[in-house]
Amino acid sequence: MIRVQREDFDVGAELEALTKGNPRIGGVASFIGLVRDMGGSDRVTALTLEHYPGMTEKKLAEIEAEANKRWPLDASLIIHRYGRLEPGDRIVLVATASPHREAALAACHFLIDWLKTDAPFWKSEETPEGKRWVEKRAEDDAATQRWTIKS
């Protein structure tokens, strides 16, 4: 399931809803992304996330479908927020559920790596020196590339 929303989410309630009524599920993996108070060496007082409505949902659904093709998942969830957020606020939740832990953990890692390089979101930071756009990190591309190497 995909959700793109301005409002916060309740991690406990989301994870409970994800597995409810499915006793086949033996493990749930989750990743929660938070707003950090540092960007490079500067203090960040707030972050604003902009996205491309329509394409965001399309890309997230494609990424989720790809994870379900690669691993035997019983359930998956991606929630991504947009708008203005402050340090400590939740940005994203990725959760995957499977009969065994390996598939859930790997699929969760895959989803957050791919989401960072494929989903059309852009961050701008507020610092004491003013507003600035966050630049892409080469490490993020490398993290996604790892999943394209066939073993």
Binding site: E50, K116, P120, F121, W122, K123, V134, K136
Partner: protein, 83 residues
């Protein structure tokens, strides 16, 4: 064609979206970007380094050779930084 701009490309160009008729010299993404650069100093400045520009046609990422048609939704934006 319907053009959309995001993040600092929107800020530099000065508009979030616009509807433009497809000029005869524009047939793919590369020729579209070349033509847009001639529309004003704000476009030229925003598009001067195409290494930092990504393009989606009808909500899919495309390369410079991708064909552009009049009814397309074409989005131009910097590399994504979500998650």
């Amino acid at each position: 064609m319907h053009l959309l701009y995001f993040a600092w490309l929107r800020a530099k160009i000065g508009t979030a979206e616009e509807e433009l008729a497809l000029p005869s010299q524009v047939h793919d993404v590369k020729s579209l970007l070349d033509w847009l650069k001639t529309r004003g100093p704000n476009y030229a400045e925003a598009l001067k380094d195409l290494g930092t520009v990504r393009v989606a046609v009808n909500q899919d990422y495309v390369g410079p050779e991708h064909r552009v048609r009049d009814g397309d939704e074409i989005a131009i934006f910097p590399p994504v930084t979500g998650g």
